[in-house]
């Protein structure tokens, strides 16, 4: 199932659906990378609220998405990691240390807006 990608001002929001296949994740990674350039987005939110499990492939792909989008000039936040998922990620040692996280989409948007404001103040 293709993940819907919503454009919201300067940002893109991708809400991951449950039962996502590996191909779907790769599709999302490639598509987000393209759309960041097309819409000149400054931030990306990847919402995983609906996911009850994240396997190591999914976690690695999320990280790849974040790093790719950052290289294309868009800050990336992963939002909505559920308690059980967070706990198992930590136990697996897959903690995404260099990637921003937030509680939900609202918090993620606030975070991106704060960072964007700071960057613009510095003339970025």
């Amino acid at each position: 199932m293709r993940t819907p990608i919503l454009k919201q001002g300067d940002f893109l929001i991708a809400s991951l659906q449950p039962a996502l296949s590996d191909e779907d994740l790769e599709w999302l990674r490639d598509t987000l990378a393209q759309q960041v350039g097309r819409f000149r987005s400054r931030g990306v939110i990847v919402d995983v609220t609906l996911l009850e499990v994240l396997d190591s492939f999914a976690i690695r792909t999320l990280r790849a998405i974040a790093q790719t989008c950052e290289l294309r000039g868009a800050e990336t936040v992963i939002v909505g990691i559920q308690p059980e998922v967070a706990f198992s990620m930590v136990r697996l040692g897959l903690t995404l240390p260099d990637i921003a996280t937030a509680l939900d989409v609202e918090e993620g948007l606030a975070l991106l807006q704060r960072r964007l404001r700071r960057r613009r103040q510095r003339g970025g």
Partner: protein, 307 residues
């Protein structure tokens, strides 16, 4: 029959045994009051159930007696099982102990056996047959009651342990988006795990952005607990919350350094007050005193006088 100690010929007598049992049950029903009184007398003599009043003993023994006879009659222990659980639930808080319960049931078994002896004393062969029917049933009853009692006790203990665990991990919201998790007492792996789970759930439910974990009340920390702490910090970050750890004592801090926990991720502040102040700073709060507390009290009193 006494001349033949090897298994006697009661194998084909299933129907006979059933007949004996119903004879026995009829006998026990007929002598109900007398036997029950004798049983109570023996209980009192043995100094059992001292925590219960005579009326209570009377009521309980009557229903145990009836249940007992019913099991002898039907052979089904299920009703007795649920009755015994129910009874245990009532008497455990009264301080009744396992040996006491076992003794009481065994007393009833003996009282009934003696009454059977009196009834069949002239016919030893018949008496043995009656005992063959009676003993397995009576033992099964004793077994059932004792097991139910112990199970009920264990259930109570489990429930209390659960309650203690729940109580020992309060997660408190002190400001919008700010949680405090005061940890008191020894942390083992299970408790650490439970603490983490509860904290993560609270982060989601309270939409917390900053969490202060206060470990002033934790006497010692080993490498396992330290790693758990680090994991909790990481998991909270994955959910978008920043963790501030406070109350690390000198000993605990030294242990953490000695065991070489990755301290880079742990945001530690001296005491709980500084922790809350740090959290407020992270959340963008600034607490300022509006006016001198004395004058504000006076203003309050003035406003009372006005009304």
């Amino acid at each position: 029959m006494s001349a033949n100690p090897s298994p006697p010929s009661h194998e084909p007598s299933r129907a006979n045994q059933a007949a004996l049992l119903s004879e026995l049950v009829a006998h026990l029903r007929e002598r109900r009051d007398e036997l029950r009184e004798e049983w109570v007398r023996r209980i009192t003599e043995s100094n059992l159930l001292t925590n219960m009043s005579p009326e209570e003993i009377r009521a309980e023994t009557t229903s145990i007696y009836d249940n007992y006879v019913e099991v002898l009659e039907t052979g089904s222990v299920e009703a007795l099982q649920s009755y015994a659980r129910n009874l245990s639930e009532r008497i455990i808080p009264r301080g009744v102990e396992t040996p006491e319960v076992v003794n009481i049931v065994l007393l009833l078994r003996d009282v009934l056996a003696r009454s059977l002896l009196r009834k069949y004393r002239d016919d030893v062969a018949k008496f043995e047959e009656v005992l063959d029917a009676y003993e397995p049933a009576a033992n099964r009853i004793a077994n059932t009651v004792a097991t139910s009692f112990v199970e009920e006790r264990e259930r109570t203990i489990r429930q209390q342990q659960e309650a203690i665990r729940e109580l020992s991990t309060p997660v408190l919201q002190v400001r919008e988006r700010l949680l405090i998790l005061p940890i008191i007492g020894v942390i083992d792996t299970q408790r650490a795990r439970q603490l983490t789970e509860q904290l993560l759930r609270s982060i989601r439910d309270n939409r917390a952005r900053v969490v202060v974990i206060d470990i002033t009340g934790v006497p010692s920390v080993d490498s396992k607990v330290a790693n758990h702490l680090a994991q909790t910090v990481e998991a909270s970050r994955l959910m978008g919350a920043t963790v501030v750890v406070t109350g690390l004592s000198a000993e605990v801090a030294q242990t953490l350094v000695m065991v070489g926990v990755d301290l880079g991720k742990i945001n530690a502040v001296g005491d709980l007050q500084s922790g809350i102040e740090e959290a407020e700073r992270l959340l963008g709060y600034r607490v300022v005193r509006v006016r001198d507390p004395r004058s504000s009290r006076k203003a309050l009193e003035d406003s009372w006088e006005d009304t």
